[in-house]
């Protein structure tokens, strides 16, 4: 594919707002996970909670969209020069020619949950009777308004692959001439649906998650938001680029991965092919690595099938928790940090590798100058996406 320039990118997660906080936490091995202190009924688990969302105030024009998810979107949009980059893109192309493609798994359902908890004779309380927050596209609409954009606007909701797939859909929109640039990203926030939903599937660990560890017991849930501004690459560009994407379906089961990892392999191979690079060219791979018993051994085996022993692959969910629909963008940012600074993170909290782990799965960080980085994001419904990033 024709490379796309990443003019700006940012992520806000439990380790703090913006790219520097993320890079520092990765370098220092400082986890953002804490004992669950979210909501009224608290499961015994650890969460990746973003501090300060309770006091974020949206501007008056955006107040009808007020929700935890949109506050996080707003906070994330305010980091790393993202607003300025969007304004510059508007000046170059016009707001009508810039698409918004954002991913989420639960959008603002936390607000819907709250409305149901406070029903007044079967009706939503007045302060929550706003369609702006009770539909999946709430996020796309909010981001489009918050960014002042007017091009095609789509919310991708394919569970945990959502904000990886936004890169693919935006690339197609730009390639087809429907937009000159795209603001992509994803936001998901902690809510009862995901905490008690994953708990009902018995996938939540009572301890901080330990991806790829032989003794792992499940995932830790987190919340995060992030964005990237994509544009056609220009001659003389320097900087980060999207070089390839691969998408596939497991066609196997709604909530457990394909036992041979066939879908994951297809997505990774497709992303490499689109980028025009070999598996050996990838210097860092950010794994999906949720720390659930089934996911990690299957992903490790798929990685061992495709990549040489020299690959440095890790899961960073020990820092952020599994941020679901935001995992794609947050972990793309981690891949981009590895590409930019040569700092390849290890796998936090993990000590004893699962027998399925090949030499590619690294628990310790390392410094290395790399040319290409990959990010895997796999979701319920067997929905897979792999991305390849490079430098101009």
């Amino acid at each position: 594919m024709t490379p796309l320039a990443i003019r700006a990118c940012t992520a806000t997660s439990a380790v703090g707002p913006g790219r520097t906080a993320l890079a520092n936490a990765l370098r220092e091995g400082r986890s953002g996970l804490r004992r669950n202190d979210f909501g009224r009924d608290r499961l015994e688990c650890w969460i990746g909670r973003v501090d300060g969302l309770e006091s974020v105030e949206l501007p008056p024009a955006l107040s009808p969209w007020d929700s935890r998810n949109h506050r996080l979107a707003w906070l994330a949009l305010g980091q790393d020069g993202m607003r300025e980059a969007i304004e510059e893109a508007i000046a170059r192309h016009g707001a009508d020619r810039i698409a918004v493609v954002v991913g989420t798994s639960t959008s603002s359902i936390g607000s819907t949950e709250e409305a149901y908890a406070r029903l007044d004779e079967g009706r939503f309380p007045d302060d929550l009777a706003r369609l702006q927050v009770h539909t999946p596209h709430a996020l796309g609409e909010f981001v489009q308004r918050a960014a002042g954009l007017r091009g095609p606007c789509i919310t991708v909701a394919t569970a945990c692959s959502s904000s990886a797939k936004v890169f693919a859909q935006a690339a197609r929109l730009i390639s087809a001439g429907l937009a000159d640039a795209a603001l992509v990203g994803g936001v998901d926030t902690l809510c009862g649906s995901v905490l008690f939903g994953f708990n009902s599937l018995q996938l939540v660990a009572s301890e901080p998650c330990r991806p790829f560890d032989a003794d792992r017991t499940g995932l830790s849930l987190g919340e995060a938001g992030g964005f990237a501004l994509l544009e056609r690459a220009r001659d003389g560009d320097t900087g980060l680029q999207l070089r390839g994407y691969g998408e596939s379906s497991d066609a196997h089961h709604m909530s457990s991965p394909h036992p041979e990892g066939l879908g994951a392999l297809m997505a990774m191979r497709d992303a490499l092919a689109r980028a025009g690079v070999d598996a050996a060219d990838i210097g860092y791979l950010n794994l999906h690595g949720t720390a659930t018993p089934a996911n990690d051994s299957i992903e490790a085996a798929a990685v061992a099938t495709l990549f040489p022993d020299t690959l440095h692959a890790s899961s960073t969910k020990g820092w952020t928790g599994h941020t679901l629909g935001a995992a794609g963008i947050v972990e793309s940012l981690i891949a981009l940090i590895a590409l930019e600074h040569g700092e390849l993170p290890g796998t936090l909290n993990s000590q004893t590798p699962d027998p399925a782990c090949g030499p590619q799965i690294r628990f310790a960080p390392q410094r290395a100058d790399i040319r290409y980085a990959m990010n895997n994001s796999f979701g319920f419904g067997g929905n897979n996406c792999s991305l390849v990033f490079g430098r101009a």
């Binding site: 009770h134 909701a157 087809a176």
Partner: protein, 258 residues
């Protein structure tokens, strides 16, 4: 920028008009079948799951399979785009009610069926399609944006793409805030080559006039009703449909007979 496709196969289901042939006949002559099923019965699901599946999953699989059969395409050979404004509001209502009353009693099956890509997941599992499947939402532009992604995939080099659009009945307390009536689904198999009506689409400035045909009036209360102007044009075999595509754009879709 014009995006082009052949419409190789069409699937359609709504209460009272359970196939594309019947919907087309109604659009052209005004005749309606005497009896019609209250619920789709997609053969892709095993019998026990067919009854239990959420309505929006059932209708998505029904129209997707009908479109593939009409196109004589193997469903396993197609990438797919699933679009729905609200997803399964029945499960949203169940999840939020249960969380308010007894959060720890949440059903794991209902939880994994609550994802917006549930229909896409069941489709790929049922057909064995390992090609990419997407699930999107864009308010009243949900259909137009799904169509644009499908056309962009053809432009990128895919031979054929399946587009599936659906919305169901809003139930419980959320119905007042996120209204949607009845059950409506439409599916198109779009191809670069082959036979079938020629379709061209382009973005245009937003307008307030949206044509109102027989199918548009038949199921006007459903959240996916914005797709119906195109199905009215497809029923006639040719013409131009103006679809809502967002705050600044409409999508002009022109259909020409083969």
């Amino acid at each position: 920028m014009n995006l082009k496709a052949r419409v190789e196969g069409i699937g359609f289901w709504t209460r009272g008009l359970p196939t594309w042939a019947l919907a087309r006949e109604y659009a052209l002559t005004g005749t309606r079948p005497d009896e019609a099923p209250a619920r789709p019965s997609p053969q892709l699901l095993p019998a026990n799951e067919r009854r239990r599946a959420p309505e929006t999953v059932a209708i998505a699989l029904e129209v997707a399979m009908a479109a593939c059969e009409a196109a004589r395409r193997d469903p396993a050979s197609l990438p797919s785009v699933f679009t729905s404004t609200h997803g399964e509001l029945g499960i949203t209502d169940y999840m939020c009610t249960t969380l308010a009353q007894d959060a720890r009693a949440l059903s794991p099956t209902r939880f994994h069926n609550s994802v917006h890509n549930a229909a896409a997941g069941y489709w790929t599992i049922g057909t064995g399609a390992m090609h990419p499947a997407s699930a999107i939402s864009a308010h009243t532009a949900s259909f137009a944006q799904g169509l644009l992604d499908a056309l962009a995939q053809l432009a990128e080099g895919h031979e054929s793409v399946l587009l599936v659009a659906y919305d169901g009945q809003a139930t419980g307390a959320i119905a007042r805030v996120a209204p949607s009536e009845g059950l409506l689904g439409g599916a198109l198999v779009l191809s670069r080559t082959g036979t079938g009506a020629r379709l061209q689409a382009r973005l245009a400035d937003v307008s307030t006039s949206h044509a109102d045909g027989p199918l548009s009036r038949f199921t006007s209360g459903n959240a996916m009703a914005p797709m119906l102007p195109l199905f009215d044009v497809l029923a006639r075999g040719e013409g131009e449909a103006r679809l809502m595509a967002g705050p600044a754009h409409d999508l002009i879709v022109e259909v020409v007979r083969d």
